[in-house]
Symmetry: C2
Subunit: 231 residues, 2 copies
DNA sequence: TTAAATTATTGTCCAAATTACAATAATTAG
DNA sequence: CTAATTATTGTAATTTGGACAATAATTTAA
């Protein structure tokens, strides 16, 4: 009987894929690159690449994201690992996906390395992507929705100063349902927000007050176990 | 400048690690094996091994678990991927962890292949494990606790027929706090349980009624969106 | 300057859930 | 038959949640 030797296993590669979500004009979007190399040349894809043999996973995710899109200093979190034997046409490649939420307007993106283009694409209008990336993306979006319900990640997507309506609309988009304004405000009663004197600009009606998330107070409350985020 | 070629990357291996949780005598336990080979010979470890080059991840998890412990037909779910460059002393090995919850008494375990022994070990009494397995285990336990709050996985751990107190005690153990009996029963009011005529045996006091989880009704209610599990 | 239009913000009422605690019921052990 | 023990159910006060209404602040157009 053929006995597989230890080194026969060392014939695979790992990649990372970085799913970056943003929010603008009332829509959640993902940052995609246009592949300027084979395989899947000219198709849109989640930014990702192979991991160096001596590189840590998270470090690789940061490097790859920077090389392809110019984004740096983004806190990324591991989500899932995809490893169907034939998901990569050139060999066995298992990919570990990382994801992050950012404020689109706070960062500038620029395609480089083998990325021919980079764009924010609305989740509602997603083209066919390279590899199994449509699957990875939708599966990661489900994780995002879970986090929106249980962690204050909404403030990573919203602008630093936001109106309570913008806050509400983000949840209405993600969960595809309308909420009552008065009740939404009651629900967020315990989330520490800083009310600013500043108001919304350039609107054709009574401008709303701007708020920002009081992260420090929130974190004090959670280490105390005196509060848990629930939406 | 040295240019890394595509094939330079194909020098790594993947493994799967299977974290199997069980519950008995009021404690949550994990199934461990004693390594009968280098590295870390004679240390306890999470059952796991390298993935074949053409094998799907989940398939590998099932095979490895069976080979080492004799367990089969266990529904396993992916949790996290660990890939620090030096986590394996013999080369770059990234490991994908899977986990499952089972009823200890419903299965027989038996060490085989290179597992010298197999044992259920209480989480409260965990020795130093091989590789980064203590880290993997505690990180997976956090995921289990999250699931206990949001999915009816408690019934995978409890015996098929259980008393309401046993049900409550599982949560009291996992979250290390006591709950009021009457209020616990109100909280679980919407979880479909089947009440049996049968009662607890061999106790020195009034025996409690036995219940089992009505999975079918639960699933009908969740596809309807008429109920979501929350503890 | 003013009224209409529009949206922001706050309040009220009722139903439902949560909490703390008490009362009652069913067993076993002697 | 009684005490001890635990199971099970009930109550009352409080808090939360949802539907809906009222009021406030601003812009626009006459």
């Amino acid at each position: 009987m053929y006995r597989i030797e230890f080194n026969d296993f060392f014939t695979s590669a790992f990649s990372v894929d970085c799913i970056i979500f943003g929010y603008s004009h009332g829509e959640i979007k993902a940052l995609l690159i246009k592949r300027a190399m084979e395989p899947f040349e000219n198709l849109w894809a989640i930014p990702g690449d192979l991991i160096y043999p001596d590189e840590d996973l998270e470090e690789a995710a940061e490097r790859v994201l920077f090389e392809l899109t110019g984004l740096k200093q983004i806190a990324m979190h591991q989500s899932q690992t995809f490893g169907k034997p034939n998901r990569h046409p050139q060999g066995r490649v298992i990919t570990v996906s990382y994801f992050a939420l950012i404020r689109i307007d706070d960062f500038e993106v620029k395609a480089s390395s083998w990325a021919g283009d980079v764009q924010w694409v609305s989740l509602e209008n997603m083209p066919a992507l390279a590899f199994d990336h449509n699957h990875i993306l939708s599966s990661t979006y489900e994780i995002l929705k879970l986090k929106l319900q249980n962690e204050p990640v909404c403030f990573d997507l919203l602008p630093e100063r936001f109106t309570l309506n913008e806050f509400q609309q983000l949840y209405e988009f993600a969960f595809d349902q309308a909420f009552d304004k008065a009740n939404f405000r009651k629900k967020i009663k315990y989330i520490p927000l800083i009310a600013h004197d500043e108001k919304q600009q350039n609107v054709k009606h009574r401008p709303a007050k701007l708020f920002s998330f009081d992260k420090k107070t929130f974190e004090e409350a959670t280490v105390n176990n005196s509060y848990t985020f629930k939406m």
